[in-house]
Symmetry: C2
Subunit: 254 residues, 2 copies
């Protein structure tokens, strides 16, 4: 299995604090040694850092956890390989372009019979069940909307339905974003928290670090963080139920 981390925010926000917790699970406090990756959106642009090394000993992960890259949408993943060998091509998150936007996705879980999932315009580069499922979702989206739909929200609602069909093939916890919307789907484990004023102090569960968000934010900031397991000890995270899906836009659940 793997661990997911996502962020949706209404102002460009860095994810250093949460990523610091996550990367420890990549080989130190957790068994996810088989690579990691994180995608940051700035507007419609996206920058993705990936490494097939364990995150807790990756130089690139150290940079990402120390260097405040500000973003309104982030998708991160640390991997414990099951389907597909350890390599860069099999490292999440995966990105494809559709309708002049980059779509980025990461998956936690394991699917059976995934090789039969029909893909058309979008083809997997690597050999994971995860990337095949992503190419399936994007191919279905392209088939349903051969031209850019007026409402991307409707496109995400369509993806929610398609994610439900993937659940029948196994464990499918997922994050998918176009930089503005962020879709979550849970079949076993996914938690989220929306932080807004008044902001308090949060304490990481994986390393001895705390942060006073009131010093880092303005009263208008709304920031949602999504993670496989809660990353902090002293806050109330929303635990998603099997089959539950939640769409976020600029930090707000919608």
């Amino acid at each position: 299995m793997c661990e997911l981390l996502g962020m949706s925010a209404n102002v460009p926000t860095d994810i250093c604090f949460s990523f610091k917790g996550l990367k420890e699970r990549g080989g130190r406090t957790g068994p996810h040694r088989d690579g990691w990756g994180v995608a940051f959106y700035e507007g419609k642009g996206v920058c993705t850092f990936k490494d097939a090394l364990p995150s807790y000993e990756s130089e690139i992960a150290r940079l990402v956890s120390d260097y405040p890259i500000k973003s309104c949408a982030v998708v991160a993943h640390i991997r414990q390989a099951n389907r597909g060998r350890v390599s860069l091509q099999n490292t999440h998150p995966f990105t494809r372009e559709l309708w002049g936007r980059y779509w980025t996705y990461a998956h936690n879980g394991q699917l059976h019979d995934y090789k039969d999932l029909p893909v058309a315009r979008f083809q997997p580069v690597g050999t994971t069940d995860s990337e095949r499922a992503f190419c399936y979702l994007m191919s279905e989206l392209d088939k349903r909307y051969p031209n850019k739909p007026r409402s991307r929200k409707a496109a995400f609602r369509f993806l929610q339905k398609k994610a439900k069909t993937l659940q029948q093939l196994g464990v499918f916890n997922m994050l998918l974003t176009d930089g503005e919307y962020l879709l979550t789907y849970c079949t076993t484990k996914l938690h989220w928290i929306t932080r807004r004023a008044p902001f308090g102090i949060a304490r990481l569960s994986d390393v001895d670090v705390d942060i006073d968000f009131s010093r880092e934010t303005t009263p208008k900031d709304v920031v949602t963080v999504i993670a496989t397991e809660p990353l902090t000890l002293n806050e109330q995270w929303h635990k998603m139920q099997p089959g539950e899906s939640q769409l976020f836009r600029y930090g707000e659940p919608i």
Copy 2:
């Protein structure tokens, strides 16, 4: 204008030495302050670092120039904006997937009437002439070969012809790779050098650094480096002519 840097090699090789020279041109020895990016292939996988900051003061660029990421195909770019504002979405290199492979591209130059270039399956995300030209090339390739061709070399020969038509719209110096082949096209400025045994010492022109390649390589290594301007002082670089194109595969000109 911008500066390009590419590498094609028959063994995974780091580009730290060449990148060290290039990044100085991003705001210190050169005027290219408007972002930079570099894509490294590991097999079919690709990892791209990008930053809208000048490379000479970018933390990410410092990491890339110090941290030996080994790759057989690299495309890098530092930008001086002309078409399209300074932003991540307009930062090269650009990547798209076709036939289950990632294609990565960077451009130096300026095109007129580029908004009329027909694009179909591949749409630009940003607003640069460069990305539009890339989407045009990829859309033409998809139209010419609706299914994966037996020979990717033939696909690159087709791209060479299409690049020639882009030359009619202005300055079009280009690098394009699928991780195995690397295609260059020159209309004004592009140089390359193939290093092989016996390896010697090279001295960078932009910073006071030299390297003894014989200590870093094995006798079988073949490494081609492509750059807008030669990066070293004491070696003979091949200066490409206007309209000249060269395809490389695993370091060898073919």
